[in-house]
Every structure is written in C-alpha cells, then in structure tokens.
C-alpha cells in the first residue's frame, strides 16, 4: 500500500511535466486544428544550447535555464514562421509534413552543436528531498511539480482573463471574423507559439534537470510523451492536457514498479491504444459523432 501511494506520488510529480508538454500540443491544436510535430525538437534545440554553454563555459544552472527557455522560444517562432504562418486550414497535411521536416532539421542542428551521445545536464532544485511519514519526496521532482503548477496557473490567467486569451479564442473560432474585430491574427499566432514554446522549455528544463543528462533522443521522447498525454486527456482541452499528463505519469510509475523498467513505455502505448478504441476523443474530449464533435472542442 505504501509502495502504491509512493508510486502514485512519484507519477504525479513526473506527470506534471508531461502535462506541460501536452499543453504545448493542445493549444496549437485547439487554435489551428493542426499538430506541431516539431515541438519536441524545438525544446531539444533550446536545451542543447543551454547544455552547450554548460559544457564549454561551466555556466550556472540558472543561465542554462534561461538559455534553454530563450532558445526554445526562438525555435518555436522559427517553426511557426515556416510551417504555420498562413492560417490556411485546408493545408493541414502540408503543414504537418513540413513540421516533421523541421523536426529533423532542428535535431540535426542540435547534434551539430554537441555531437556526442550523452551530455551531463546540471541538476536543479529549490528545496532538498524530504520525508513525510513513510513517503519520500525528491527535491528535483517537487521543484518540477511546483514549476508546472505555476505555469498552469499563469496560463489559466492568461487565457481566461486577458485580451490575449480572448483574441486567441476568437482566432481559433473564426480567423476571418477575428481580423475584422481588429485582431492581428498573424501576431496572435506568433505570440501563441512563443507562449507554448516557453511552457515546453520549462517542461524540458525540469525533466532534464531531474534526469541530469541529455541525449539526441530527447526531442522524439518529448514529442511522444506530449502527444500521448494530450490524446489521453482530450485534444484541444487545457484541463484534459493536465489530466492526461498526470495520468500518463502515474501509469508509467506503476508499470515501472510492478512490471519492470522495460514495460514503462509499453504500458503508455497500450493505454493510448485502449483509449483510442474506447473513447477516441480522450477523457475530457467529447465522444466523437462525426467531425463536429472534435471541431467544437476548444482551448
């Protein structure tokens, strides 16, 4: 029983970073109806830039964090300019394929920066590990959870209570009409990509600071985890992304404990498969009846 609770706690903590990754996918999907496959790769490039400074100049972990965030945002803006610039909803396939191509490009750039297989990433925690009764709370993971909670809270305020949130929603519902309300749709989209990249950068940094290493597979890994968490929770739904991320973390933690390390990823894929068969819209997504059900699910 103690193991079960401990695993659940660990799962929720690590799942909080999956939630941030899922938010990155779900906001872009909610507004553009498209999946940005280059998301994980742009986080990876940002983190590689931070690692490069760390490896060559032994900079402080906070400088690594700042570099990671800034470079992830720049990479996100680059992806938006190249793949998603024009709001042409009928070109969904073209932009998805091009985002896949950009993924390869960003990964290539990162590997050119640091060509070896593995690099150490500085660890980061605000408070040290502590015990609460029989349970252990690792410092890195509590820091991750706090960072994620702060990000989700800030996002909620931004989307629900500012003109940016209103503009984003208007653009997602009808870009043409939004333009005639005086909303600069291209600018709003750019801001949205910068925003989700910032969220992704925080998630990437928190994960890497917990793992204390970075490999060229991080982009692929982040894209997979984020996509699975989004699909579990319900595409285009912000609470769904949070729920999906936490659920994925908990399932993985239990699978790792009870079945072994090699079943960790497999259990996540099986769960996604079961979800797609039983409830294709995700937990908080609507049951799909035709195209409309999905199309009306908004951020």
């Amino acid at each position: 029983m103690i193991d079960f609770v401990q695993n659940t706690v660990d799962g929720i903590m690590f799942g909080s970073s999956y939630a941030l990754l899922a938010i990155g996918f779900t906001i872009v999907f909610g507004v553009l109806r498209r999946i940005n496959l280059a998301f994980g790769a742009s986080i990876m490039l940002g983190a590689y830039a931070g690692t490069w400074l760390h490896v060559h100049y032994q900079v402080n972990v906070l400088v690594v964090a700042l570099t990671t965030l800034v470079c992830t945002v720049l990479a996100g803006i680059y992806v938006e300019r190249l793949c998603f610039r024009a709001i042409r909803r009928d070109a969904a396939l073209a932009s998805m394929v091009s985002s896949f191509v950009i993924w390869m490009q960003l990964e290539e750039a990162a590997v050119h920066l640091l060509p070896e297989r593995t690099y150490a990433f500085p660890s980061f925690f605000v408070a040290g590990s502590f015990e609460l009764g029989p349970f252990l709370f690792r410092g890195e993971q509590t820091t991750m959870l706090v960072l994620a909670a702060l990000m989700v809270g800030a996002l909620h305020l931004l989307l629900r209570h500012t003109r940016f949130g209103l503009a984003l929603r208007a653009v997602s519902e009808s870009p043409r009409a939004a333009a005639y309300m005086g909303i600069d749709t291209a600018w709003v989209m750019l801001c949205a990509f910068a925003l989700v990249s910032l969220v992704g950068g925080v998630a990437g940094f928190a994960i890497l600071a917990t793992d204390e290493q970075i490999t060229p597979f991080f982009g692929l890994w982040a894209t997979f985890k984020g996509l699975i968490a989004m699909m579990l929770g319900g595409m285009g739904s912000l609470p769904g992304a949070v729920l999906g991320g936490l659920l994925l973390g908990v399932i993985e933690a239990h699978a790792q404990w009870y079945l072994g390390n090699e079943y960790k990823d497999l259990s996540a894929y099986l769960l996604l498969f079961a979800m797609l068969v039983l409830r294709p819209g995700g937990i908080l997504g609507q049951r799909i009846h035709g195209r409309e059900a999905l199309a009306f699910r908004r951020v």
Binding site: T162, L166, R176, Y180, G182, D184
Partner: protein, 252 residues
C-alpha cells in the same frame, strides 16, 4: 468616406473587377446589385483587405488603405458582415460582441496582456446597448451556433455597432430570409445601422434595396454599368436586361 479609383482584381485570367470608380459620401446607404459572379463580394473583399487589389486605389476616410491588412483597416473604423456568416460559434451572443471590443484597444504585446473588459464596466454597457439595438439582449447567454439565421445576421451587425465603425459593409444581410424577416432587417439597417454611419449593402432582394438604399450601383462582369437613385437606375433598360431579365422589379 470611401473612394475607389480604377479598382481591378484578377484571379489568374479572370478579371473579377475591372476599372471600378466609386465614391461613397458620408451618411449614404449605397446599394450594390448585380447577377451572381458580377464581382460584388470581390469588391467587398478587396476593400476590407481580404486580398490586395491587382490595380487601383482604395481610400477610406482620407487614408490610402490600398493593400492594407484586414485588422488595420478594421481599426480605422470599417466593419463588415459576411454572406456566409462568420460568428464565433461556441461563444455566447454576449461574448461574440464582447470580443469585438478588441478592436478598440491598442495593439502590441502590452495591449494583449491587458485585462479583458470587466463585467459591469463601461464595456459591458456598450455591448448590452448594441444587443438591445438589434433586439438580441434577451438571448445574450445563447451560444451563437444555436441562433436562427436572422438572429445570426443581427448578431454580426451588433458586432459592427460596438466597434464604433464609421463605415459598415453588409454582404447580403437578408440572404435566405423570408419576406417578413427581410422587412425586419431593412428596419434594423435604416433605424440602427444607418444613423451616424455610412453603409454599403450588397443584396439580391429588391425589397431590401428599394427599402433602404439612397443610391444604387449595378455591377455586371466586374464592371459598373449603372449608378444613381434606385428608382431611376432600376428603370434603365440595360439594367433591367442584365440584372432583372425583364422581370418587374417589385417581384424580385
């Protein structure tokens, strides 16, 4: 208020508009009629910045807006409605008009981070006033996609009212409506939209055109073939031939 000089729009080999000169003085309700494919909606799209014209100039309120993006033109005080209505479907009636308040705030990053209009504030009263004027105040919490067609068109008009537009372009405001609904729309245009504003109305329904317009312009194959007082224009032989096909105007 609005001046078009030699306006031209080509799509490949097709000249959708050619050599349109048009002057819309302040306070006028100009009707634009013409058969399907004569360039009416293309004209509206070119003026509102959906695409830049191939040639010619567009001036609005003294500013040359040729080639401007739609949101910049909107901020100058130009609003439009759409033939195929473009509301925000999963927002309520109130939120649809509320979102239109966006046009009245400065742009840039700081403008975006400003707080939304607060319930109960001056912005809310403006929204309610606009809804009241088009008779939608009672349905303020209804989702836009659940509204019947005439109410959707009135909601588009309420959005134009709330942004303080000086010029309102209406693209087939009575499209798909019954005669009674058309008469009601004519009343809304005359009594709510027109006072203090300049209007351009594209329409097929003669009942609406003759009921509201102070001047009429007829397009055919992207050219202006007639312009003048509605009764006089509709009496001209070439207009009757091209547009009405010999049918009496009052029947159409």
């Amino acid at each position: 208020m609005l001046t078009l000089q030699g306006l031209e729009k080509r799509f490949g080999a097709l000249a959708a508009l050619s050599g349109i000169d048009l002057e819309v003085p302040a306070g006028e309700i100009l009707g634009i009629i013409g058969p399907n494919g004569s360039g009416k909606t293309t004209l509206l799209n070119a003026v509102t910045g959906v695409y830049p014209p191939s040639a010619g100039r567009i001036a609005f309120g003294g500013a040359d807006i040729t080639g401007w993006k739609g949101h910049r033109i909107a901020r100058l005080g130009l609003a439009r409605t759409f033939q195929n209505i473009r509301l925000f479907p999963t927002m309520t009636v109130f939120q649809n008009v509320w979102a239109a308040q966006h046009a009245r705030t400065p742009g840039g990053l700081l403008g975006l981070l400003r707080s939304r209009p607060r319930p109960g504030g001056g912005d809310t009263r403006r929204v309610e006033a606009a809804l009241e004027q088009v008779g939608l105040l009672a349905s303020r919490e209804v989702l836009a996609r659940h509204l019947p067609l005439p109410a959707r068109r009135r909601l588009e008009i309420a959005r134009a009212l709330v942004v303080d537009a000086r010029l309102v372009l209406l693209d087939e405001p009575a499209g798909g409506m019954t005669p009674a609904e058309t008469a009601d729309m004519a009343r809304v245009i005359r009594e709510v939209v027109a006072p203090g504003r300049t209007c351009v109305v594209i329409e097929h329904k003669m009942a609406l055109i003759t009921g509201v317009c102070t001047r009429l312009c007829v397009l055919d194959f992207g050219r202006k073939i007639a312009e003048g007082h509605p009764d006089e224009v509709l009496d001209r032989a070439e207009v009757r031939e091209v547009y009405l096909g010999g049918v009496d105007a009052s029947d159409a």
